[in-house]
Symmetry: C2
Subunit: 164 residues, 2 copies
DNA sequence: TTTTACATACAGTTTAAACTGTACAAACAA
DNA sequence: TTGTTTGTACAGTTTAAACTGTATGTAAAA
């Protein structure tokens, strides 16, 4: 890959900032963006060269992104090196990962707090803490509701997109 | 403040984990939770004691939370020390802060990318990069749409809450 | 089989963030 | 005014994360 033009570099920097909102590290965001901008799948060595990071570093970065299901490994006959690529459905992928994160977390926390609530009411020590835990539970219920709705919204956006 | 019971400590740990989803640091999340659980406004010294962190550390933590509009400073006559407290409208506060963050960011990035797009089309070098930037713009438009809808949802949740 | 090319595990290093203690400044009390 | 009490700026330290280079293992090529 040829050295980046300063304009391409701007694109990388700007887009990476957005990806960081999804709780990706700056490095991982940058790596993803570079991979996304590339017209074809890249090898670890190529990514190492383009990012200016060591191969090991790129390897763990790609592993992170793969675990979140944000990049894909592809095979090309004749090529021995591992090849990675992104897909064009940026929005769907990122939102799916993000919503999953929120929803699985809120679900777990609701359980944890319920269980704590029980223990507290068994040995009635403080009214105060009990009230607070109730508020926390409501907070989580609201969160869950909001993000379930967001999921629906994303589905709609995706559908609209497919039609046009 | 008396030493925390292990049960209270569980509550703090669990709830803090949720707050971290809002991009608060573990320390700030913990600080907020402690403040929220306390039945009355707390001073820096109290928070320092309860969190086990230095006063300076608590000070910067509170400053962070204040900047995000998640805690309030209150005055009590006769008390010289600064007093801080949280409010009961957890959901509204956090979502407001969070949505603002997303929406202001996406709005800015849309502008940045548009501006870059212009520069690219002026000096037509690569078709590829142009296409990619267009995709990024669509990505941001989708994000904006989704989070604006989320804002509406939160408003509704909040309204429902106020009635009951 | 041996040799080569690659991914990855691991130990050590660098870098950045969080935290602490001291020092200073502002507000209040006497 | 002077003496106290409090918040905060700052320099230095600790801690955790990111990164690197070497070493190892594995799969393909010869």
């Amino acid at each position: 890959m040829q050295p980046e033009s300063y304009l391409t570099d701007d694109v990388i920097n700007e887009f990476s900032k957005t990806l960081e909102l999804f709780d990706l590290s700056p490095s991982d965001s940058r790596l993803f963006t570079i991979l996304f901008l590339n017209h074809q799948p890249m090898t670890l060595d190529e990514m190492s060269q383009t990012t200016g990071k060591s191969k090991t570093s790129v390897n763990t970065g790609i592993r992170n992104l793969s675990d979140l299901n944000l990049v894909n490994q592809v095979w090309k006959k004749g090529v021995r090196k591992d090849l990675y690529t992104t897909t064009d459905d940026l929005f769907q992928r990122f939102m799916h990962y993000y919503l999953d994160k929120w929803l699985s977390h809120t679900s777990m926390q609701k359980q944890s707090l319920s269980s704590i609530e029980k223990k507290i009411s068994d040995r009635p020590q403080g009214e105060l803490i009990e009230t607070k835990v109730k508020q926390m539970l409501i907070f989580h219920k609201h969160l869950e509701k909001a993000f379930i709705q967001l999921k629906t919204t994303c589905q709609e956006i995706n559908d609209d997109d497919r039609i046009s």
